[in-house]
């Protein structure tokens, strides 16, 4: 996603804005891999291959989320890794 998209994204669960952006891999103004975090409800949303994945809990893929956290654990803040909702390492 383009960095400027932060202006139009809100937490799908509690509508909190702005979301925190953790950049893992970026090229120009495009974030390829990263995390969007809601400071209100503690949920995190992965940005995978440029696409922010902001699904409600019941449609999230736990295995995919956990794999993502494990893959990038050195680049993701501890708070998200250990306390992020709906699940964490």
């Amino acid at each position: 996603m383009k960095r400027s998209m932060l202006d139009i994204l809100a937490c799908p669960i509690d509508k909190h804005y702005p979301l925190e952006l953790v950049e893992i891999e970026a090229a120009g103004d495009e974030v390829r891999e990263g995390v969007l975090a809601c400071t209100k409800c503690g949920r995190y949303y992965p940005i995978m291959e440029e696409i922010p994945v902001m699904l409600p809990d019941e449609l999230r893929n736990k295995e995919r989320d956990m794999g993502f956290l494990r893959k990038w654990q050195v680049k993701i803040p501890e708070k998200i890794l250990r306390q992020g909702n709906p699940w964490h390492l």
């Binding site: 383009k2 998209m5 994204l9 799908p12 440029e50 696409i51 922010p52 994945v53 902001m54 699904l55």
Partner: protein, 171 residues
């Protein structure tokens, strides 16, 4: 992923008369409509609940901002045009969510509209939704009345066994 069909082309045709700065398509599927919106809108956002559809769009589209979310649930801001061609055949979305829109066929459509209402700019915002004669539209009419929306049919297309309507909604 929903493969472009006659309803996709019909929606694409109907969006041509609109212009503005921000446009949103909910449920982009293969991305054909969102891509065509780029000719008349400076910024185009496309959502889909299916990550695989978006991965397909990403490969061929420069310029459409993609978000994997339900309807418009992860978005904020104001849009000049919101379009959707929701799954509208009566049936259980769990069987095939790309074509079934709920038991009356209209539930997903109403969910989409409700989700995007806060994003519609009050003065000039317009929503364009495809509704089929196969779906029971009584619930939609009730919803439109409750929300005090203005409804206008701006396009109509007869297919082999159904009739499609392009319904424009405004405040």
């Amino acid at each position: 992923m929903y493969v472009p069909a006659e309803d996709t082309l019909f929606l694409m045709e109907c969006t041509k008369q609109y212009r503005g700065t921000w446009a949103l398509e909910m449920g982009v599927g293969s991305g054909a409509v969102a891509q065509s919106l780029l000719s008349n809108f400076k910024n185009v956002v496309g959502t889909d609940i299916d990550l695989a559809s978006l991965a397909y769009c990403r490969g061929k589209e420069e310029g459409v901002m993609l978000v994997c979310c339900d309807a418009a649930s992860a978005l904020r801001g104001k849009f000049d045009l919101v379009v959707a061609n929701p799954p509208y055949l009566p049936g259980d979305p769990q069987a095939d969510a790309t074509v079934h829109g709920g038991l009356a066929g209209i539930e997903t459509t109403i969910h989409f509209i409700e989700s995007a209402l806060p994003l519609l700019s009050e003065k000039e915002g317009k929503m364009l939704v495809i509704v089929s004669s196969l779906a029971n539209s009584t619930a939609l009419d009730k919803f439109v009345q409750e929300k005090k929306l203005k409804k206008r049919v701006v396009g109509e297309k007869a297919l082999f066994y159904e009739r499609l309507y392009a319904v424009e909604l405004t405040f």
